[in-house]
Symmetry: D2
């Protein structure tokens, strides 16, 4: 069992840290939100007065923050974590941020002789609570080997995508494609519906045909086709449109940096932003299905 | 065993008719191409001088033609099949055509007291030869029940999508979504590659994550990731870009008729047409992957 | 002055026929809608009991119908106009229809020794009433030369785009581009607004810069920037979303026929259909501007 | 006449500084490229050993740099220009950079009591040489009033778009729309050509119709339609695809920051990146026209 500093106790970080506690690790926690710290301290974590305080004496530091600027701010600079942690400390950032920030921090860590692993997650708050997250990691083979058993207390699938930043790149490639699948599946189902087909029957046919994809298998966007998915629960819960928009913004950033053309992903981005702009930001992302509905069965 | 007229002995129709012969049916065939007729006659089919000649005395008529206008031309009109076939003849059209033509012929058949089933296929020439096609059918419950055992000699999955025309609608919904999956997966893999990832690793990760879809499972578009797929064979064989463009044209037609918005499918259509216009019409459709390649790793 | 048969007295055809009456022509009219016939008969037109009745004895026939199937139905067939009009009659179809139908009718007319000119219009009901329409014509030089003075009673700009069908093609190229301009200008203005700019100032700058286009010059989609345009009148009047969708459907049809890739036009098509599907079909097409609005200045 | 420091003597900055010299200003110049400094020093500018050296004693500082990070790096920080220039110095940045960087520098300048104007240009190297650039400015009314007479030595149209950063926002709104116009016009012309129309005739018609826009008026992308434009000169000269891609990357950045949906602009971005990726980065941006060409008149 290890001594682990966990910094960032939001909707995801809180339950993740709790799973580390339950696995028997010594978990030192910090967040600007006192209530979040208090809640997990009651479950056995050790509250600390600052990030550096939490990291002092820890063998592993895990961070879960909103954006690249927060990660850079925490690790870099004169009073940053890289200056204060002990040699041999393993650094894991599970935030979903731009790949460039991940690479910059990893390179600064390398110069200090520290292993830094970018390890963004998927699986949502439900996966965080259940300890069934997916981690997609970037970093050296050594860093990944050290991180894996720690991450195994919080997740099930733990991938090594490549060198520093590769975890972030792989995650946004996946999530950009997910946005394409969800938008594309929604419009295909609506095209069928608007031409008289039953969405249950159509979903069954496509699911086992060449149009088959994760959304039809696990997350059908059409209300009433599958039980226990957000579309059958008023699009509550799940993965919020705003979070998808955040990931798609990171994809746009990465594509611009590499000069990559992503026509399908960019269009899905626009569709999700249009959807968010109409007040749907906090609904599940499969609610994009509604964008393709016709108020009457024909325009006009 | 039944007496079946089979009209249209092209790359798909030829091997389909042959599987009916092998299953023990009496198969009466016609095609404007004498060589095609001759080839299957050598295998036991009965060559006929005309469509109506083939249909005379048949219990089932199966047609496999290029486009809606051919299907209308063959079934409708004063000397059309609907005027000449015997009462009780089951009519099955396996052509991939616009849903409206299928509905028009089905309605004309209904007025004559005949069952007409639209039953477009997927699975390509390999599936036709192997007898492993998928049939997606539209028509009445009775018509479908009669068609199913006949189709079972040529295919494995036989779906009933709904009423007349529903087979055509379901097929183009599926194939439009397939085009979206292939274009979206290609650009996501290229985005990863252009940011330093190994496409094999990235494919493995996405395949079991929320970006998972048929193209990653069965038909990876990146050369060298999977064996025995067109991308690892110079994009030869498989499903031609021109045929995908044909199906996407039918999808555009259907969407216009119902006033449906299909932004993702329409963009995929444009990408495939751009690809075809550069001389790739006869290559496998997964070659769309090459459209996203950078000659140098950065533009300029 | 000529004797002219005018068939199709809808929102456009009615005022067009009236301008011919006012110019001194003898105008024989027919429409299935008796009220429409009655209204223009009171202004001096001669009501006729049928299309062929109207055309009998006319030197010129002008038709203004909803779709290609109506035009084919009227001109072709055993009792069609081509069979009944006198030699030397000039045929002008001002309907906006698919180019293929225009070419089919023109070819049938040519075989009868008749000149047929496709002459779709732009300018809307206001232009029809004021006699300031634009006609974009396809047909032979002779046919165009004969049509021009007749059309000059109803319009100002009269273009000869090329051979049969070219009028329809040119019109849909223009209108597809117009949809692109309107959607693109709307999102560019909204991007500015959402980043703190005044749409009046931004419109002024772009209008005289390289982003300048007809919508900024004549038809600004942002309420309050220009007077006397639909956007400053609750998007009433002008060119309805449903009619733009109709023209974009024709563009899709034409692009499919020629295998042309029209990514920008296809995306604009999807955006206008999404807009129509939300109940905006009968509002002016510049209301697409509202699709890009953010309920709050940020998503979420 | 003023003493002006000009920093950044590239393809644009060099001729701009020269126009200031010719207008009679005392111009102190710096660039890392000694040849560029030497060339303009021969025309009467005063070479300086550093940016701060050039700025010492200048009443106005003008900067022309590649990207936001260079602008931040030059103005901000302990040895940045904001720390070294005299009170009352007017700061003008004519670089095309992200609006956020412009706002950050402007705010830092404001805290020092300095006026900072973002003043990106359009008009290309030809406009820079001829002194006919367009400047689109952001900043206070006072700052703009002071900048205007200086900029008038280098350009003709000088706009005040709004507060700090507004110049950058307005420029990228314009250029994003320009990309939409160029791509949309190209595909509309190709659709016409692929359906038998003469591009000269079609251009004439659309130019005076509702599809009219700057590209048809000044910069027709189809070879042979207009003289003296890049399309009639092998797409040499003009505005490079790579530079358009740079501006479109800034537009993507701005849209992500404000959560704005820009479907048309994003699609144009993808089309220009695809074009760049095929080796066209250094050709004029109107060469996007070639992307829509069909090798044969039909796919396949």
């Amino acid at each position: 069992m290890a001594t682990i500093a966990f910094i960032g106790l939001g909707n995801m970080g809180g339950p993740m840290a709790l799973n580390l506690v339950r696995a028997g690790h010594t978990v030192r926690v910090f967040d600007l939100n006192h209530d979040a710290v208090h809640a997990i301290a009651e479950q056995g974590a050790i509250p600390c007065p600052s990030s550096c305080g939490a990291a002092a004496g820890a063998e592993v530091v895990i961070t879960m923050l909103p954006a690249g600027k927060h990660v850079r701010g925490l690790y870099l600079g004169e009073s940053g974590l890289l200056e204060t942690v002990a040699q041999g400390t393993l650094l894991i950032d599970s935030s979903t941020i731009d790949a460039e920030s991940a690479r910059v921090v990893a390179e600064a860590a390398r110069k200090k002789g520290l292993e830094f692993v970018d390890a963004p997650v998927s699986g949502g708050t439900a996966g965080a609570a259940a300890g069934t997250l997916t981690f997609i990691c970037g970093g050296s083979d050594d860093g990944f080997a050290q991180a894996q058993p720690i991450l195994a207390s919080m997740g099930v699938n733990i991938f090594h995508a490549g060198a520093a930043g590769a975890g972030q790149v792989a995650k946004i490639c996946n999530n950009m494609l997910l946005a394409v699948l969800m938008a594309g599946t929604s419009e295909a189902l609506q095209l069928g519906i608007q031409n008289g087909l039953d969405p249950k029957v159509l979903s069954q046919i496509i699911k086992v045909s060449s149009g088959g994809n994760w959304t039809l298998e696990k997350y059908n966007p059409c209300p009433g086709v599958m039980d226990s998915v957000p579309s059958s629960n008023g699009y509550q819960g799940g993965f919020m449109v705003d979070l998808m928009c955040k990931d798609l913004g990171l994809a746009a950033h990465t594509a611009t940096d590499s000069g990559s053309a992503t026509p399908m992903g960019s269009l899905a981005t626009s569709l999700f932003r249009l959807h968010a702009a109409k007040g749907n930001g906090r609904r599940d992302f499969s609610s994009i299905f509604e964008q393709f509905e016709q108020q009457n069965n024909k325009q006009g």
